[in-house]
């Protein structure tokens, strides 16, 4: 949804990075083929991770091909080809992207939302197709998006409540990855905390902008001082990641363990370093060895 579940590139082996990219590319192609070009542009890292998680449980094929695509027309990229393994993730991605667009329309005025309205118009058909595939998830996401709107309207200051919709959506998507009851429980708890992390990290990154514009941000409602609010957010993120790690260990993944380890233990705790602003700053900075 927001793209905070990313790998930490500096600590990745080259082949791990290739596999990760091939997942991203395969998912993107799958989206393009089944749901149209528009969704390709909206794909986020979070769903690449969910794709890997799904394939850690139900992996069948292992062919990575080098293919061209519209976004990278000049260079062939590693791409996971047997796309039916990514069907579940792409359908879930379509459903949540569609609801995110609906949410944007709610947040903006009549004119500002025009662009999103047009987008929604084009997405509607694909959304219906995806929600037919995963009706229970579509229903849950719709329910929690309504809850989100309510929370924003009432300006609830409790950070736990504010995180609830995003966390529950992630839990609903991840829960159906496995058929085993025990795994289901662990997956949903694990994903709940990932969702919590995503929401707080997003609030953390947007805090300055929200203060200027007077938007709803649960961190600002608890603290007047921004640095205090940020510290509070980081502590909450740490708690969520700590809890997520406990469930992650219980999942006992094997197939793509090194990649998921990297994402869980390095990528997410270092989310600040991968902020776009920071990356731009780091590109210019001299590195001391």
């Amino acid at each position: 949804m927001f793209g905070y579940i990313r790998p930490f590139k500096p600590h990745m082996r080259y082949y791990e990075y290739e596999i990760y990219n091939s997942f991203y590319c395969g998912l993107c192609k799958n989206l393009g083929k089944k749901y149209g070009l528009l969704f390709k542009l909206m794909l986020s890292y979070d769903f690449a991770f969910l794709g890997i998680l799904y394939n850690s449980y139900n992996f069948k094929c292992n062919t990575i091909e080098r293919q061209r695509c519209i976004i990278h027309p000049f260079k062939k990229r590693a791409c996971l080809c047997c796309t039916n393994n990514l069907d579940y993730t792409s359908a879930a991605a379509v459903i949540s992207v569609y609801h995110k667009i609906c949410d944007e329309i709610q947040d903006r005025g009549a004119i500002a939302s025009l662009f999103f309205r047009i987008m929604r118009r084009f997405m509607k058909k694909s959304y219906i197709r995806a929600s037919e595939k995963l009706p229970s998830i579509a229903e849950k996401i719709e329910h929690y998006m309504k809850m989100q709107i309510k929370i924003e309207e009432e300006k609830i200051s409790s950070i736990d409540l504010a995180c609830e919709p995003t966390a529950q959506i992630m839990a609903a998507i991840a829960e159906n990855i496995s058929d085993n009851d025990n795994d289901k429980k662990n997956l949903s708890q694990f994903a709940y905390h990932l969702g919590r992390f995503i929401y707080i990290a997003d609030a953390y990154d947007d805090i300055e902008r929200d203060q200027k514009k007077g938007n709803y941000n649960p961190l600002l409602l608890n603290f007047d001082d921004i640095s205090q609010a940020k510290q509070f957010a980081l502590q909450n993120i740490n708690m969520s990641l700590g809890e997520a790690a406990e469930y992650y260990v219980k999942l006992n993944l094997t197939k793509f363990r090194s990649i998921t380890d990297n994402i869980v233990y390095l990528g997410m705790p270092n989310f600040r370093a991968m902020n776009k602003k920071e990356i731009r700053k780091n590109r210019k900075a001299k590195v001391e060895i």
Partner: protein, 213 residues
């Protein structure tokens, strides 16, 4: 309604502990998670509701003091004590039994029931209350609330080991510790050096022994 004692399969003279173990065994047997088949599930659910109701009635009856159990030494001694003391002890006993009941609910994953009971006793506000509330918040993933409740529990009762353990775990997570982190120990190289040294030592010792023979 059926006799609640018969539902749980215990005699009316059984102690609280016996009833609790009976309840635990039965609820383990009929827990919906263990009976996932469609036919068994309905029966198990019905049975589970019956067991819960029976346990509740027995506990309520005993809490209100309207059972005359000659085996229970506590009650006998209360009766012989003076009235004031009796009331105080009875109150303590009562709130303790509520909390132990809530604990059994939490053990079985029935968080809504446990939370409802806690909310009814909200004005207690003691360490145990805060601790249990924190546990429920934790199970729901409400980390911030859980942290503040744990903190309060530890402040109210600083010498309780259970509260301390839970709170320190929370604090570790808050400071960024992640369980099972493979990147945490970067001095793995030292370990290999150590094992190599050990190996050399063993070889030398073995060599010496060979000389002796």
């Amino acid at each position: 309604m059926n006799d609640p004692y018969r539902v749980l399969g215990v005699s009316p003279q059984a102690t609280d502990e016996e009833i609790k173990t009976a309840y635990r065994n039965l609820s383990k047997k009929y827990h919906p998670d263990h009976n996932a088949d469609s036919i068994m599930e309905e029966i198990a659910n019905e049975k589970m509701a019956e067991i819960n109701a029976a346990y509740d009635t027995i506990m309520n009856m005993r809490r209100n003091g309207n059972f005359n159990n000659a085996n229970n030494n506590n009650y006998n001694s209360y009766n012989s004590n003076n009235n004031n003391n009796y009331n105080y002890n009875n109150y303590n006993n009562m709130s303790n039994s509520i909390y132990s009941e809530i604990r059994t609910y939490i053990e079985h994953g029935n968080y809504t029931a446990a939370d409802n009971m806690l909310e009814q006793n909200r004005n207690d506000g003691n360490a145990e209350w805060n601790f249990l509330k924190a546990t429920i918040c934790l199970s729901r993933g409400w980390m911030n609330d859980a942290y503040s409740y744990y903190e309060k529990a530890v402040r109210l009762d600083p010498y309780n080991r259970e509260y301390q353990m839970a709170f320190s775990q929370m604090k570790n997570k808050r400071s960024g510790q992640m369980y099972g982190n493979p990147y945490r120990n970067n001095n793995n190289t030292n370990d290999t050096v150590n094992t190599l040294c050990n190996l050399c030592q063993c070889l030398i010792c073995a060599d010496c022994l060979c000389d002796c023979i």
